[in-house]
C-alpha cells in the first residue's frame, strides 16, 4: 500500500470531496427543512468546517511525522483510540452507503438503467477496492486524471442553468426565523466535514511551501462550487426544491427546452458522478485505515481482508436495513448526529492539542517521516 501523497493531489482531492456527492439528495433535504434559506444552513456548516479544517492543518503543521493512530494512542490510550477509530469507520461507511444509494437512484431515474443493488455495487467495490489496496497515492493519481473533466462538467451544468435563474426567489430572507436555519445546519451536519480524510494522511503528507494556504483555498473553491449550485437549484425550483431527489439532474436538465443540444446534461451528470466514485473510494480507504488501526493490521493481505469485510457490509446492509431512512431519521434528525459530531468536529478541533501532547510525550515521535517544511 503506497500511502505517500503529493500536495497537489491533496488539493484536488479536497475540491472533489467537498463538492462531490453534495448535489444528490442533500439540497432537497435541506430545502425541506429550511426552505429558501437552506443555502444559509449549508453556508453555516461550511464555515464551521473551515474552522475545523484550520485546526487540522494546524495539527499537520505541528506534527512531526506521526500517524493519526500514533497521536490518538499517545493521548487517548490505545483502547480509547480504537473506539474513536471504530466510530470513524462507521461514519465513513454510512456516508459512502448514503452517497452510493443516491447515485444508484440518479442513474436509474435519469438514464433508465435499472438494476439491483448487488449488480450496481459490485463493480463499484471492485474499482474502489483496487484503489484502496494500492494505497491513497492511487486515488490521488486518479483524481489528477479526472479533475479537469469533472470541473468542466460542473461549469457546464452551471452555465446551462444560469439563464433561467431568478435570484429574487431567495427572498424573503429568514421568513421563518434564523433559529430554523441554524437548527437545520445542525441537522444536516452528518453530510459535512469531508476534509477529515486529511487526518488519516498525517505522517504521509509531503509538505511544501504554503501547504495550509493552498488547501484552504482548495476548500473555498469546493465550497463556492457547492453553494453556487445550491443557490441556482433553489432559485430555479423554488417551492418544489424539497421534492427533488437528485438536485444535479434537475438543475442540469432545466434549461434544455429545445432539442438542439439533445441531452447534453446527461453527459455532464455522468462525468460528475465519477467524483462521487472518487470520494467513495477515498472514504473507503479512510474506513479501511481506521479498521486497520482497530485490529492492528499493517500488511497488504490484512487490508484486503478488511476491505472484503467492509465490502460484504456494503452489499448486505442496504438489503436488510432501510439505510437512507436511518441516515435521515437517526443521523440527521435524530440523536445519532451527536455520535458522529464527536468524530466530525470534536476530534478535529482537539487535534492541535493532541499533536502537541503527543509530541511532548514521546519527545518528537518514533517515526519521523522525511518531510520538507515550507
Amino acid at each position: 500500500m503506497n500511502n505517500s501523497i503529493k500536495q497537489t493531489q491533496i488539493i484536488l482531492l479536497v475540491i472533489i470531496v467537498v463538492a462531490g456527492g453534495k448535489f444528490l439528495s442533500l439540497p432537497g433535504l435541506v430545502a425541506k427543512l429550511a426552505g429558501r434559506d437552506s443555502w444559509v444552513s449549508m453556508a453555516i456548516m461550511f464555515a464551521v468546517d473551515f474552522v475545523c479544517l484550520a485546526f487540522i492543518l494546524w495539527s499537520v503543521y505541528l506534527n512531526k511525522g506521526k500517524s493519526f493512530d500514533e497521536i490518538l494512542s499517545d493521548v487517548l490510550t490505545p483502547v480509547g483510540a480504537k473506539i474513536v477509530f471504530l466510530i470513524y469507520a462507521f461514519f465513513f461507511i454510512l456516508r459512502i452507503m448514503g452517497g452510493l444509494l443516491d447515485t444508484q437512484e440518479l442513474i436509474s431515474s435519469t438514464l433508465s438503467v435499472v438494476t439491483n443493488w448487488i449488480a450496481f455495487i459490485l463493480p463499484v467495490l471492485f474499482v474502489a477496492g483496487f484503489n484502496v489496496v494500492r494505497g491513497v497515492r492511487n486515488i490521488g493519481r486518479v483524481t489528477q486524471i479526472f479533475f479537469g473533466f469533472i470541473f468542466a462538467s460542473v461549469v457546464g451544468i452551471l452555465l446551462l442553468s444560469l439563464k433561467n435563474t431568478d435570484f429574487s426567489n431567495l427572498q424573503p430572507h429568514f421568513a421563518n426565523g434564523f433559529d430554523l436555519v441554524a437548527k437545520t445546519a445542525l441537522d444536516v451536519s452528518f453530510w459535512f466535514s469531508d476534509y477529515i480524510f486529511i487526518l488519516f494522511l498525517l505522517g504521509k503528507i509531503t509538505k511544501t511551501g504554503w501547504f495550509s494556504v493552498k488547501v484552504s483555498l482548495a476548500y473555498l473553491v469546493g465550497v463556492t462550487i457547492t453553494l453556487s449550485l445550491d443557490v441556482i437549484f433553489l432559485c430555479l425550483f423554488g417551492n418544489l426544491a424539497e421534492f427533488s431527489s437528485s438536485a444535479l439532474a434537475k438543475v442540469s436538465g432545466f434549461n434544455l427546452t429545445g432539442s438542439v443540444y439533445g441531452r447534453i446534461d446527461w453527459l455532464f451528470v455522468m462525468i460528475w458522478a465519477s467524483s462521487v466514485i472518487i470520494k467513495c473510494t477515498l472514504f473507503l480507504w479512510s474506513a479501511t485505515m481506521a479498521l486497520s488501526y482497530v485490529f492492528g493490521i499493517k500488511n497488504k493481505k490484512g487490508y484486503i481482508i478488511l476491505f472484503a469485510l467492509v465490502g460484504v457490509l456494503f452489499v448486505l446492509l442496504p438489503l436488510v436495513l432501510p439505510i437512507k431512512n436511518i441516515i435521515v431519521n437517526v443521523f440527521c434528525l435524530g440523536v445519532g448526529k451527536y455520535v458522529t459530531i464527536f468524530v466530525q468536529y470534536v476530534i478535529p478541533l482537539s487535534m492541535p492539542l493532541f499533536t502537541f501532547l503527543s509530541n511532548k510525550k514521546t519527545n518528537g515521535g518514533k517515526n519521523y517521516a522525511k518531510q520538507k517544511t515550507g
Binding site: P172, G253, T257, S259
Partner: protein
C-alpha cells in the same frame, strides 16, 4: 515429500481456475442484471397530448418512427401517434407502451399539450408525475389547446410534419418574437405553490387553412393548417380560470416578459416619404420595473415600462435585445404618444381582467411576499380576495 511438493502447485492451479470461473460467473451475472434496452425496443416520445374522456385520461404520444429508406435510397424519420387510456396519467402513459410493446423514453419529450377537457381537472397534482421524474425535462413546453389535444396531434403543419416540433417552434421560439408568451412545465407548477397560486399557459388553436394539398403524403388523412397561439389561459390553484383575449394577453405580456416583442399601428403618422399615413412600429428593447407596496389597506402595484421602438423595417423582426446603438430618430412625438396610449390601454385591460376574475396572474402576492415576508402572510390570510384590493398603476415611457 515429493508428492506433497507436486500437489501444492496443482492445488494452486485449480484454485486459479476456480477463481477465473467465479469471476467470469460474477461478471456475467452483473451484466445480465442490467435491464437491456435496445433502441429498436424504445419509443422516443417527442410530444404528449392529454385529454379527459369519461373520467379516464387519454394520452396521445407522438413518437419517432425511423424509416428504413425511401425509393431514392435516403433514410428519414417520421412520427407516429400512439394512444393510451387509464384512470390516472401514469396508467394512461403505461397503457400507451403496453399496447405498442415499446419501452417509453420520455427524456426527449419537448411539449405537453393539455386538451380542453382538462380544464376541470386539478393540474398541479396531475403534472407532478412529470415533475418528480429526473429524466423528464422540467423545461418542457406546456400548453393548453382548443378542443382535444389528440386532434391537434392528428393535424399537421405545412412546414413541419412533426406536430411536436412545429408547436415547440411556434410556442417556445417564435413566442418571443410575437406578442404572446409561453410557459414551461416546472414554472407552471411551481408558480401555483407560491402566494399568488396562479399561472398561465399558451392556448393553441388549430386553424385549418384549407391547404391540405400541401401535405406531401397523399395517403395521410391529416388536416393541414396553422397553429394560433396568441391567447393565454390562466389558472388558479391548479384549476383553469379563464382565457385572456388577444388584447389582454398583449397587455399581460407587455409587463411580464421582458424580451417579448410587440408592434403597433399609428394612424396619421408622418411617413418617411413625407406623406401622412399608417405607420407600423415595433419594440426593439424593453425594461419593466415592478414595484409593490402597501398603501393603507390597499395594495399598490406600480409598473414602470421603458421601451424603445423603431419603425418596422426588414431588420425589425421581433428580436428584443439590450445594448442597442443609437440611430437617427424616425419616431416623432405623435408616434411616441400613440404607442404610449395603446400600451396603457392594453395593460389596463389585463389589469381589469385580473380583478374581474379574481386571479392574480401578475403575481403581485409573490412580489409582496418577497418584500414584506410574514407581514404579507398575515394580510393574505385576512384578505383571501386581496386581488380586488390591488390598485394597478402603469407608467409608460416610449423612446427611440
Amino acid at each position: 515429500m515429493q508428492n506433497k511438493r507436486q500437489a501444492e502447485p496443482c492445488a494452486k492451479k485449480y484454485a486459479k481456475i476456480f477463481l477465473l470461473v467465479l469471476v467470469a460467473f460474477v461478471v456475467a451475472w452483473v451484466a445480465s442484471s442490467y435491464t437491456k434496452s435496445e433502441l429498436a425496443d424504445r419509443a422516443i416520445v417527442l410530444g404528449i397530448g392529454i385529454d379527459m374522456v369519461d373520467d379516464n385520461f387519454v394520452v396521445t404520444a407522438e413518437v419517432i418512427s425511423p424509416n428504413e429508406g425511401d425509393e431514392g435510397g435516403s433514410s428519414s424519420a417520421t412520427s407516429k401517434l400512439l394512444t393510451g387510456v387509464g384512470q390516472t396519467l401514469p396508467l394512461a402513459i403505461q397503457d400507451v407502451f403496453q399496447t405498442s410493446g415499446k419501452n417509453p423514453s420520455l427524456g426527449q419529450t419537448g411539449i405537453v399539450l393539455l386538451g380542453e377537457s382538462m380544464n376541470n381537472q386539478e393540474l398541479k397534482h396531475i403534472l407532478s408525475y412529470f415533475i418528480m421524474s429526473d429524466a423528464f425535462k422540467d423545461g418542457v413546453t406546456l400548453a393548453t389547446c382548443e378542443g382535444s389535444a389528440k386532434k391537434i396531434f392528428e393535424s399537421t403543419s405545412p412546414v413541419d410534419s412533426m406536430v411536436s416540433f412545429a408547436l415547440q417552434t411556434i410556442i417556445q421560439k417564435s413566442g418571443k418574437k410575437t406578442n404572446s408568451t409561453s410557459n414551461v412545465l416546472h414554472n407552471f407548477v411551481e408558480r401555483q405553490t407560491r402566494h399568488s397560486k396562479t399561472s398561465y399557459l399558451s392556448k393553441v388553436a388549430f386553424v385549418n387553412d384549407g391547404n391540405d394539398k400541401v401535405n406531401k403524403n397523399k395517403d395521410s388523412q391529416k388536416k393541414t393548417g396553422v397553429y394560433d397561439c396568441s391567447k393565454l389561459s390562466v389558472f388558479k390553484d391548479g384549476y383553469f380560470v379563464d382565457v385572456l383575449d388577444n388584447d389582454e394577453t398583449r397587455g399581460f405580456v407587455m409587463l411580464t416578459a421582458s424580451k417579448t416583442y410587440d408592434n403597433f399601428v399609428v394612424d396619421e403618422a408622418q411617413s418617411v416619404l413625407g406623406t401622412k399615413d399608417k405607420v407600423s412600429v415595433g419594440i426593439v428593447s424593453k425594461k419593466v420595473s415592478p414595484d409593490v407596496s402597501f398603501d393603507g389597506d390597499k395594495i399598490l402595484a406600480k409598473y414602470n415600462l421603458d421601451m424603445r421602438v423603431r419603425r418596422m423595417r426588414t431588420d425589425v423582426t421581433g428580436n428584443v435585445m439590450d445594448f442597442l446603438p443609437q440611430l437617427p430618430s424616425l419616431i416623432d412625438e405623435h408616434i411616441k404618444q400613440s404607442v404610449k396610449t395603446q400600451t396603457e390601454q392594453l395593460v389596463a385591460k389585463a389589469f381589469k381582467k385580473s380583478k374581474n376574475i379574481n386571479c392574480d396572474f401578475f403575481g403581485v402576492a409573490d412580489a409582496m411576499y418577497k418584500k414584506y415576508g410574514k407581514k404579507w402572510d398575515d394580510y393574505q390570510k385576512q384578505n383571501p380576495d386581496y386581488t380586488r384590493q390591488i390598485e394597478f398603476e402603469i407608467v409608460v415611457n416610449v423612446d427611440d
